[in-house]
């Protein structure tokens, strides 16, 4: 047998380890799962050289198109491409249908909850959720109590993070209900895959996701205040220096709407206008990618330079719709998260389709004792942080780190929850010239307007650092395309 030079070697080798994890592609005996068989066969034909050529082409096109994110705290070369892995994740139709039903149920219940919190507060009076958890939540907005929003919809866009455990069961890790990002990567990843792996699409039936921007626009238009004209929708961005600016601009372009900064808007007589070369134009719906705190210096943080003075008063007068509504953050507080199954039962009288990761609340005495006794086994999270910051991964932490979290938990129990470490499922991913199993999660995007719409798929994030469980882009994560099959 002739010796293979390194570049001729296949990328999928016998060294691939499934390990003690749920592998998306392989059964524990190393056989490919049925919905991965076509992909498996295709990958078996690829050697390093062929794969590298495709990979470079994809990387370069990302950089030239400016699909980059900004890493904070680094002086030079702050723009990086978000690492993209060319091996797609495949989800069978039946599995997706279950996820889709579960996500819809969850978002509808959460929306009920937010409406309730800012109106009659039945769920508190019926003692299903402790009042101090809700009113003590950092993102609870008392200014929103009694304010009605169009169609009663608060969360027009949700990005829910799903994970799978070592048996392959899906769990919800968190619901991002303020301004979830990443959907542009979902769309661009698909474009890149179509450019580089066209033949695979012909052999698989992959459900399309390209209509997401149109669905988003329909959602936004469906909640416009009625003033008898075609509604004008704008996307409000913090500006070009925001790490997600690429996404803001991408979505605005795809929807054909104006992207505006706070300084482009002006409020006069309770109405919001854009400043244009032809004078002022009224705006009906603002898809805002700015946090509540910065929206309006007159209502919230008065040092905000990103916001629009008077926007909140125009909002409560009903002259402009904000998506998402102000105050939705109360529902993505990690302590409130623990009560979502309860909300589903309370508001919808249904059994939850998707499960939560078991969660211990440090504010409960019994839970807190358990957390403090098991710090070395648990993941401790600060309830207000996102992006993988403010976390203690017990099994990987040092004694000092655990001690520090112990003190912080004792000082402010409301601010912490803990969950058992879940060994996330793994997926073959191209690292150092071959395929290895890397941990992944999944973030589908749920739109809520006239009805709930979820494009089939989402952003699969992958932890590219060896053994790492953290998939956030700011923590060395990457992403891959997600294929939901027709059947």
């Amino acid at each position: 047998m002739p010796l293979l030079t390194p570049i001729d070697q296949p990328i999928l080798t016998d060294n691939y380890e499934v390990g003690p994890f749920f592998d998306e592609m392989f059964e524990s005996d190393g056989q490919p799962r049925s919905h991965y068989r076509v992909l498996y066969e295709h990958l078996s034909t690829l050697n390093r050289q062929a794969f590298e050529e495709r990979r470079r082409a994809a990387d370069i096109s990302f950089l030239y198109q400016g699909i980059t994110f900004t890493v904070y705290g680094q002086q030079e070369g702050i723009e990086r491409i978000f690492p993209f892995d060319l091996i797609p994740r495949v989800i069978p139709r039946a599995e997706w249908d279950m996820l889709s039903r579960g996500l819809t149920q969850r978002v509808v219940a959460l929306n009920h909850f937010i409406h309730d919190v800012y109106h009659d507060q039945h769920i508190v009076r019926d003692r299903r959720i402790p009042a101090e958890l809700i009113f003590g939540a950092r993102h609870f907005r008392r200014e929103m109590v009694g304010v009605d929003v169009p169609r009663g919809i608060y969360v027009h866009i949700t990005g829910t993070d799903l994970i799978r455990n070592e048996r392959g069961d899906y769990y919800v890790l968190e619901d991002n209900m303020r301004s979830p990002s990443g959907v542009s990567y979902m769309l661009e990843n698909r474009q890149a895959m179509k450019r580089t792996f066209a033949p695979l699409f012909e052999r698989y039936g992959v459900m399309p996701i390209e209509h997401y921007p149109q669905e988003l626009l329909n959602t936004l238009r469906s909640v416009a205040p009625d003033r008898g004209v075609e509604p004008t929708v704008a996307l409000l961005t913090p500006g070009v220096y925001n790490s997600a600016y690429f996404e803001h601009s991408f979505l605005a372009r795809q929807m054909g709407i104006e992207i505006v900064e706070g300084r482009d808007l002006v409020v006069h007589d309770g109405k919001v206008y854009t400043r244009t070369t032809a004078g002022l134009r009224q705006v009906d719906v603002i898809y805002r990618r700015i946090d509540d705190d910065y929206l309006d210096p007159l209502a919230f943080r008065n040092d905000s330079l990103l916001g629009v003075p008077g926007l909140f008063s125009a909002y409560i007068m009903g002259n402009v719709t904000l998506a998402n509504a102000i105050g939705t953050g109360v529902a993505d507080d990690k302590a409130i998260y623990a009560f979502v199954p309860e909300m589903i039962r309370y508001y919808l009288s249904e059994a939850p389709i998707l499960h939560n990761v078991p969660t211990y609340l440090a504010i409960n005495d019994a839970d807190r004792r358990y957390i403090l006794d098991h710090l070395h086994q648990l993941v401790v999270k600060s309830v207000n942080e996102s992006g993988g910051y403010g976390m203690l991964v017990g099994p990987h932490a040092t004694r000092e780190e655990r001690e520090m979290f112990r003190q912080r938990i004792l000082q402010a129990p409301r601010n912490f929850i803990a969950q058992p470490t879940v060994s996330l499922s793994r997926h073959p991913t191209y690292i150092d010239n071959e395929l290895r199993g890397c941990h992944i999660d999944l973030r589908p995007y749920i739109l809520y307007g006239e009805q709930v719409t979820i494009v089939p798929g989402g952003l699969t994030r992958v932890a590219l650092r060896r053994g790492s469980l953290v998939v956030n882009s700011s923590q060395g994560g990457g992403s891959k395309d997600t294929w939901v099959l027709y059947d």
Binding site: Y64, F250, I259
Partner: protein
Amino acid sequence: MLSRVAESLYWMSRYIERAEDITRILTVNFHALLDTRLEDLQRGWQPLIAITGDEGLFSQHYSEYNAQTVSEFLLWHPSNPNAVIACINRARENARSVREQISSEMWEHINRLYFLIRGVNTQSVLRGPHEFFSQVRDGSQAFQGVTDATMIHGEGYQFIQLGKFLERAEKTCRILDVKYGMLNAMREGTPEASLQLIAMLKSCSAFEAFRKQSAFQLHAGRVAEYLLLSREFPRAVLFCLQRCQQAVALISKGTNKQSDSASVSQRALGRLCSELEYLDIEEVLDERMHPFLTRLLRQVNLIGDEITRAYFNAQIILPSPRRQQAQQQQ
């Protein structure tokens, strides 16, 4: 169109044009100085800084004018806001902030230029200036071409034209001003004077065009006339200002803008174009050239100010007390 977007398109275009112009002036100088006696070398570099109008800033950082210092200052120096790299950075930042208004091709080209210029250093440029300069020039020209071919020729496009031609008019004025001043010290018809005229034309990419269109000898008056008053050469001051005039007319038609400042910029452009159209070059030659160009430059800058006032600073105009009072009766 958003005022901020219009402003960003306008400046994106101006900065790209500025980067290309500065690069071209540098290229021509590198080339021309190969024919110069050693003792004149220093004198050969000084005018470049004069063209950009940044002599004061230059002398804060360097004591000597030579290929090294002038190139470094014009290409990279961090405190020079008009350095080529600063221009390209700002052009890209402006493009980035209006990413959704320009075509993907435009963004790709400006990005490519940005990554190109970030990847080189002064030493490598001084070793092979022509390759680097032609890359920048190609990048800018490809950007202009792609803009023309892929962007909607609507209001935003007109702001891009406006920025480009106003910048170009200004640079041609400055090149003419400096180089013409140097000619005064030389005798007409000497080899040095001819070389200067050729450098002047090449700094405006005008040498071949001039040769094709003018049967005359290389004569200072003819060259000045060509660079100022040609209606066909795309870097001549009159040509550029006429393009600005067209762009402003289309913009104000599209926006139905009847505000005072819009008509002020239209009027100022119209007046300036008419003056140049009817100018007899003999009236401004020799020692009258410098005062004439100084005034012309000031007017070009004023037009820039008026455009800013008219289109980039939309304000709430509150109803006047008279209107409110009038509304009180039914």
